[in-house]
Each structure stands twice: as C-alpha cells, then as structure tokens.
Amino acid sequence: MKTTINGQEYKFDPRADESAIEVLRERKQLTGTKLVCGAGVCGACTVLVDGTPMTACLLPAHALEGKSVQTIEAHGPDQLHPVQKAFMAHDALQCGFCTPGFIIEAIAFYDSWRKEHGKKEPDRDEVALALSGHLCRCGAYVGIYKAVQRAVAGDFDEVSEIESPRVEALAKVTGQARYTADVHVPGMLTGRILGSKHAHARIVRIDISAAVAMEGVKAVVEMLEDKYKVARYVGQPLAAVAAISEEIAAEALEKITVEYEVLPFVDSLDEALKPGAALVYPESSKNPPNASEGPIPPGKWEGNLRKPYLNLMMTTWPGKARRIVKEAGQDENLVLVQRTYRTPGQTHTSLEPHCAVAHWQEGSLTVHVSTQTVAPLARELAKYYKLNREQVTVLSEYVGGAFGSKQGFTTETRAAVELSRVTKAPVKVVYDRMEEMTIGGYRPLTKSDFSIVADKQGNLKAMTGYFYGDCGVAVQSQCAPWVRFTYTGVPKDVKDFDVVTNAAFAKPFRAPSGPASFWVLESAMDELAHRLGKSPVALRRHWDDSTIRMPLYDWIESLPAWQKRGEAGASAGRFKTGIGVAIGNWFNIYFSQAKVEVATTPGGLVVRTAAQDMGNGLRSVVAKAVAEEFGVSPLTVDVQLGNSEYVEGPVSTGSRGTNSIYQPSVEAARKVKEKLLANAASTLGLKDPHWENGGIFHEKGFLPAAEVFRQLPAVSVVEKRGGNGLFDVLGMMPSGELGANIVPKMTGSVFMAQVEVDTLLGRVKVQKVWAGMANGKIVNPELAQSQVYGAVIQGMGYALYEERISDPATGTLLTVGMEDYRIPGIGDIPEIEVHFHEGGFESVKGEACGLSELSFLAVAPAIGNAVFNATGWRPTEIPMRPHRVLEGLSMALPQVQEAKSVEY
C-alpha cells in the first residue's frame, strides 16, 4: 500500500485493524501526533488527509491508500505557519499535549475561512464550532480563541520573529517536544497491565503459563501489592506482561487465568456506612493508600469509617459550636443554615496518560516517566530496589499534564521497572484511556453535613461541619482544615471522616479537598447572607480575619456587574441570569531545600534543576528570573529540567514551584554575574566593568552578553532557596519526601461568576468569571494568567459536568472514556477577567507565592451562588448537570434540614 506522508511516499502493509495513528507514531515515529482518547473525542490525533482534518485514531490505515497526509512535523521551526506563531504569542498552550491537534485543525480553518471571508476576524462561535472536536485539559482555550482569531485576521502573516511568554512554546507548537509517551528506545518492549475483574476478591491463583508460552511474550510479573492477596477494586493491577508488540501483549493478558474467591463489596459512601455493610478492610491490619500529600495521621476505624485524631486539632470550642447550632432554631436572634452537600469524584484525565519507559541494566536503572516529582522519585526507586541513589536516573523532559495525579512511585512505573528487571530490555508502559480514567486518579467524592449560625446583625456565631470523604480504598480527604482556617475566631466543630469503598484510590488533585470545602462553606455563607438580607460581599468582609482579600472585595464591589445584580430569583422568563461570589483561602508553601544551578557555556546561559514543568510554566519562570538579571531575552536561556542528575529542585505540587525556585534563580544569576565581572577584569583586563543593558560596560566600551559567555571561562553557581526566617511554620521540620515549608500567611482569592440558566433544558451557561487573586508578586503575568484560566475552566468542569459514575452491581467504573466523562470544551468557555492584587508577602523571599490551587477554590461556589441568584434555587450537589438542575428547579428545598452531629 502506498501513501504520502508530509510529502514523502511511504509504502507499507497494514494490519487488518490498524489505524492511521499507529502508522504515524509507530511505523514512522512521527510522534507530534498524539494518542489520547482513541475514540474520536479529543482531537489530539488530528492530521490532514488531502487537506481535511481527521482523527487518526479512528481512521483505518487502509484509508490512507493514495492519500496525502500532513502532520505537525510538516510545520517545523523553519516553516512556522501563522497559526503556530499565534499560538506562541497568545500562550494558547500549557502542557502542550493537545497543541499539535489544535494547530492542525486551526490551520485547516485558517485556509477555509480565508477562502470564504478573507481577513475578516471570525467570531468566537465560529472558532468554537470549527474546533469543537478538540479537548484541552489544561484549559488553554482562552489563548486558543485569541490565537485563532488573530491568526486568521492576519496578525501573524508577516511576522518572522516571535516572542512567546512560554520559553518552550516553539518545541510544543512544532510537535518536537518529546514527552514520555513519545520515547522510543531501540529494542523496547511493550508492557500491559492485567486488572482485577472484581471489586473485592481474594486472589487464589494466577496462572500465567499460557501467556508465558506465547511467542513474543518476554515476561509476566505479578503486580498485586496486598499482604492478604486481596484485590479491593475493579482494575487493581494483578499482573503485567512484556511483549514485542502491543497486540501480543494485549492477547497475552487474555491468556492469564485468575482464580478469584469473590467477596462482598461496597460501591458507594452511603452503602459503606450502612450497618452490616461489607468491609473494604476486614483484616485487623489495614494499610490504605494515601490520597493526600501529607502523612496519614493516626485514627480510629469503625467498619468502613475512619476517624482521624487530627480532627481534634481542627476544632475550636467544639462543644459550644454544637450547642449554638442545636439551639439556633429556638433563638429569635439567630439564623441557621443547615444542609447536606455533595461533590463528585473528579478525574484528572491528563491528556498524556501515566506512562514510563524503564531500562534496567547491570548497575543502573534509567526511567523516563511522566511525573511531577522527578527528584524524590529517583530516591524512592533507589530505596525500593535497594540501589544507590547514583544508580538511578529519572527523566521527564516534558509532561503532558498531571494536576496532582503523577506523584511518586506510581503503578505504571512499577510495572515498567519490574518487567525491565526481568527482561533486561527497555520496557514501555502507557495507560490506555480506560486505565487512565480508572486507576489514574481522581478527586475524592464528598458528602458534608454543615451548619452555620449568625445573629440577625450578621455576626458569625458558630459552625459545625462533618465531612465524609470517599477516596475509594484510600483515605485522607481533608476538607475540615480549610473551613477551620477561614472566617476564624468563632466556635467551630469541624471534622473529616474517611469512608472507604471498593473503588480505585483517589489522589491529590489541584488544591486537594479545597474545592469541596469551599463549595460547602461558600454556598452556606451565601445562603446565610441571603437569609439575613445582607450583601454577601459586605458580610464576607465583616467575617474575614485576613487582610489579604480586602482589596479584592473593593474590586468586586466596583464592578458594574456586581452593582447591577438583581434579587435572587427575580430574573423572569426561560433564560435567567444571575451573579454569585465566593472566596478561596490557601496554604502558602515552598521548599526551602530547592536548588538551582546557573552556568555559562560558550553558547550562553544554562540553568539546571531537577524539577519539572507540566505546563504550569516553571521553565519560563526560571528563564525569566535569570534573563532579567542579565538583561537578555528569556528565550536565550537554556533551562534544563526533568533530570534527577541535576541539583534537586521543587516538586510540582502544592503550588510551591514559583515560591521555591524564583528567588534562588535570581540569586544564582546575580552571583554568576559577579563572577563574570571579576573574570572580565582579571582575564580580559577590562577596567571598571559593570553589567547593564545585556552586557558588560567597561572603560573602553561594551561587551554584549553573548560575547561575554563566549570569551570568558565558564562559571557555575548552585543556589539554595533557604527559609524565610522565623516566620516559617515548618521551616525547621524535616520536610519529608515531598518537602514542604509553610508560610503562616495564607493566599486569598475572591471570584465572581455570571451565569445564564436555561430553565427549560436545565443547562447552566457560565457567561463570565471575574477572578480576583492575592498571592504576592506576579513573576510572569501572561503565564500566571494562563494558570488562572486553566483553574477556572477545570473548576467549571467540576461545578457543571464532571462526575465519576460506577456500576452498583459490580463496582466497575462506567465513565471510562472522554465522551462519557465530560471535561469542558471550547464552546463552554466564558469570558474570564483576571485581577491580580500584588503585594502583601514582603516577608517571603522573592515575594511570589503560588496560585495554581488558589485559583481553583472559589469557582464552583461562585457558579452555584450565581445559579441561586438567577433562579432562587439553591444547589447543594454538583455537578449541576441538566437532570439535577431540572429536578432542583421543580422543587424547593426545605429551609432547614435535619441536624446531625458526630461525637467521639
């Protein structure tokens, strides 16, 4: 069979069921085209076939006969299309995994639009329709709209030099960024994992003989890590296979026979709490996985319920809080809001799935892995396999999204390493989308019984909150701390409870537990304000014990949309609009041991640190910090990340990247500069040298930076961040594997949303979001803004669409594809206005704090409060999918639900 790929003829003989994606990625190693959903939903695999965009994952390889295929590789750095330049200039990408697909589609749109309409700028609806077959999990849509509109309008037709705020943008828009999923090592085997068929079963026997006997199968290893040999959720890894091809590996999995002794199971939080419910951990010694980023504190088990003793630290005058809540009903002067709230499991579903390529050789282990914790993972691997730390190298140059799901030593890495250890060959394990959805991670489900009391004058009196978190077989959903640390100074009885179920384990997800906490707290707060007849912003200002949000309240109150908002439920007709506000409050973390190396080479500046960039922009923050010191363009700074051989940088969790790395980068750059100046005097004999305007000025003239680096001997400085001084709460504590120091002053946000509710069809459309952020200095405004856009969009998904659903009869997850698990698409994106109020963190080195998590917290409650303002219906459960909205609109909730309190 003959086809043409990027202008070159290609002859091959396809398998019967082969798709074009395999031809491109496997036969031709054209890995710019990505495989994500494998089901035509996400568009990451889009290529042009005779000029028409098609999804290569569903296009039969046979359909390429006589056709001309164009992939992203046809538009390399020397032949950039205006669309690519526009994506770079407008920061229309974060992790970049969806980017080649979007660009290919946008190029086709550019051509067809130009033909019909010339350089007239298309409106947002036109762009949305054209790109509706693409999904971006990072939420880069705001930039994508702009980029496509402006490219079509001609802004980039004549531009040759392009500056992007994101230093690696060129690699991403050309498909040249090599992610772990793209790594190909000669002689590499494919690994696949066999998951449990049952939600709860003792594994009596695993017979691998038939699989091992298959031609092309190189190894089969056991994967179950349970001391009682019990599988506790569907999909729990039992065994893994390495074979010379994907097909053989898949067939081999089917040849493994597992003898199960099926045990009773529980599939939901409510079931798990019923008397007599089947126990997830019937054994006396329980060892649940940890769904949080902190250690698991001790607790007490009662069936499937676990009561962490940490709760005792969360309460302030708990008895008084319970009494006020209990008696509020009888007290004329008090107003009580009391409800049960629910939030769904939210799947991370990064577009690049979990994947690893491991190579175990005599005396060394090299692992390419899509991770957000490069340095600690190398340590963990060394410890687990009893190797010296120097024998292990972890590589992760580009990461196609993570959001909290790719921390530490995860299952796909274990499978790849185990298989490589046996075969001594490199082994690649990539989750398919079903695995990614099932065992790749999710935000825990919660059910919360919450009460809040204020007096008629609006003084906050008490709160009680009992937060039940369902992390599947794991524990550590932690909502209580956020409620504890917000609106402080009143009696509070707030407690977290773990409820284990036979479902895959939850993981930390961008602002772990925060979105559920603020959904509860800020929905209740808004309801109370309404019942008191007070402005919800004024009342928050009154309750807020932190000064950090005060300027943000001013900003919200200055917005015409806020000033013009109507009474709740006053909007008439089928389409009702409303405005809602909510706040966020978040820990301020950094890693005092973070190090960075700044060095010069004859070719220029190089910066190295064992950290990673999953699209959050760490590379650009570092490049900018160093470049500004030298007065050069960030694009000339070669930032090398994702290699455990470098000095240890921060992990990418807990919004600690910028706070940890910005200041040492600046410091190291300064020291390098000093050394260069000294050398300029000593080796070149320059008199009175000083650095200015991108080079060295001296008595006789000017030596530009490039010449300085070329002529002077190479220098290198390693700088450690260090603590902030006395103010660090945990600065002196051993920081554990992930390393965290906490600044006592929390960062803050105030968000506002405007929605339109279609009361006939039950659809909530978010029209605009205003995001007010107070997290200190903004180092890189464009990228900071992109992060906030992404959080708003993921937060919208949480509020409106995303929900893990499983089958009650078997405990099997049903929302395993990207058409059934719905993340926001381009047509759903509202206008988003970001307002940074800088300052307030002068005691923090560098004065810059994290924002990625902070910007997620207030999104859902702001939307929920806007829905209430529009319709008069108070949502308590998310996502607000059409059936819930229609149901909610058709019945009014009772004002006060039954009070429940939990005691020890």
């Binding site: 019967a16 069921d17 798709s19 494998g38 089901a39 035509g40 939903v41 568009g43 889009t46 028409t52 965009p53 098609m54 999804t55 994952c57 569903l58 296009l59 039969p60 046979h62 359909a63 006969e65 589609e105 609806d125 949305a128 329709l129 054209a130 509706s132 077959g133 068929k197 898949a250 079903m434 006939l760 069809l761 039950g762 659809r763 459309k765 409106l800 669409y801 659903i805 499983s806 089958d807 009650p808 009869a809 078997t810 099997t812 049903l814 929302t815 395993v816 594809g817 058409e819 059934d820 719905r822 926001p824 698409g825 047509g827 759903d828 999918r881 059409p882 059936h883 229609l886 058709s890």
Partner: protein, 319 residues
Amino acid sequence: MITLVENITDVAKAPGEIRAGGTDLQERLRSRISRSPIVDISRLPGLKSIEHYAEGTTLGALTKVADLGRHPHIMNNYPALAMPAQLLATPQIREMATLGGVLCQRNRCWYYRNPHFSCYKKGGDGCPARAGNYELGTCVDSGPCIAPHPSSVGLALLTYDAELEVTGRGRINVTDLYGDGSDPTHDHTLQPGEMITHVYLPPAAAHERGGYHRLMSRALAEWPLVEVVVRLMLDGDTISQAKVAINGMANIPLRLPAVEDNLIGKKTTDQVFEAAAAIATKGIVPLPQTAYKVGMIRSGIVAAMTTARDHTPGEKLML
C-alpha cells in the same frame, strides 16, 4: 483478517463486519469488544453521490456525513437532514463518517462499550444497564435493551419516510431498518453480508422548514440526552403538515404521530408548540433512572419546532 471489496456483489461473500469510514468500528476493535474479520467497503466505486431526480434524491452509502450537511441541494430541500449532519459528533468525525455507517452504527451504551460487561448485544443474556447506573438510558421501557438509539441521521430519515436499497433485500423503509425494539441483540435488522447501497429521499416538499435540537450539558460535541428532528410544511404561518421524531426516548428512533396530527392546521405559536409537545409525554411511564427526561422531551420538541419556525432556510445551524 480483512477483505478489501471492489465489487458490491463480493460483500455478501466476504465474512465479517462491514467497515466504511471506520469511526465506529475502529474504536470497538481498539477496545476489543468487536473482533470479527473486516469487510472494507470504502473503495467501492460510485457510492459517494448525491443525485436528484423528479422522483426524489438518491444518496450513495459512502457519502460523507459532512457532505450531507453542506451540500446546497440538501441544505435547501432537506433541511431537517442537513441540520443533524452539520452538528452530530465532531467536525473531524463528520468528514470520515459515511451515510451507511451513521445509519448502522452500534449504540453507545456505557455497558455495551465497556469490555467488563456482558450484555444482549455481546452475546450475553441480560441488560446490566437496567439495574445499573445509566442516566443516559431510554426514558421509556421500549424493549429488553435500554440503550437509546444513536443515529441522528437515522432519526432525520424517519421524518422523510426515506427508503433504503439493501443488497439481497431490495428497497426497505427506514423503519424496517430499526424494527420495533423488541430484539435486543442488534442495533438494526441487517443480516451479515447485507449492505445499504443507497438512500432514497422523496421529492422536496414545498415550504418545508427544518428544525433540530440536541439536549446536552455542554455547548458542543456531546452525545445528546434527547434529540429531536422536526419538519414543518407551512402555508403562510399555518402548519399544513408536520413530522416529528425523537431519539433518547426509546431504543429505536421514534416518530410521534399524535404530536404531528395535533399541529396540523394550527399557527406556529409557542402555545401551539407547547400543547403539541405535551402530547408526547402524556401517559408515558418513565424508567426510574430517566424520569428526568420527561420534561426534557417536551422541551426538546418545543426547541426544535422553534428552530423550524425561526431559522433562516439555507443557513448553517448554530447551537
């Protein structure tokens, strides 16, 4: 195994499942829920065609869905077919999907598509979705399988009383393609080896207005919870004839004759639409998981009728 057929007569002889655009089959092969040999018909000559005659319009089975949506003849004369063809799935899928494939695609039930479950359609003997968790299921109990019928184009063809040319069977009505929903083992009534070669549409109706609505949670590119196709033939602002069909309600696409009859002779007012739509759900007994669809069915019908009244003929539909 694969057979690349070059001749229509070879289709009946080749063993296996037909593959046209492959957008449905390739996904099932990847997830391994379908494993039969492939009979690739994409190279058959002469089946990518839109031809009109006095007796009507003939569409070849390999015509792309995207072409149905943008062909001026279809847009102007068969608006209720063009509309779903413009909006179903995604732009890329519409460029790959064929008319035969969109009509014969397998359903999208979570349980059918998930290799962990056995069901009627995979040789099993039950419908696990019934006692399961399936908010997208049919609203009414229309047969042993509660997966809603998937084809947006099949729905539109129902409102045109279209006929199909099937190899070995001759001409059949589109309703015969889908049966009555009592056989849960298949999504259509074609036997192995039978293939749709053409679709026949009746001559264009005078003063026809097309309406279409997909109810979903997001703005674009999502499988609908309920979808409605409406054709209104107008005499000024009076309805002389109406055709209304709905997906998402039953396991086959449904025509709603009582709703249609109620519209005849009436004006195109909101009140008329609402009264007619109410007939669609009168007396129906919804399944426990999908009672929420009852209101949506009425809303969807009203929304599609409103589009039929207000949409400028010949223009692309925006949702």
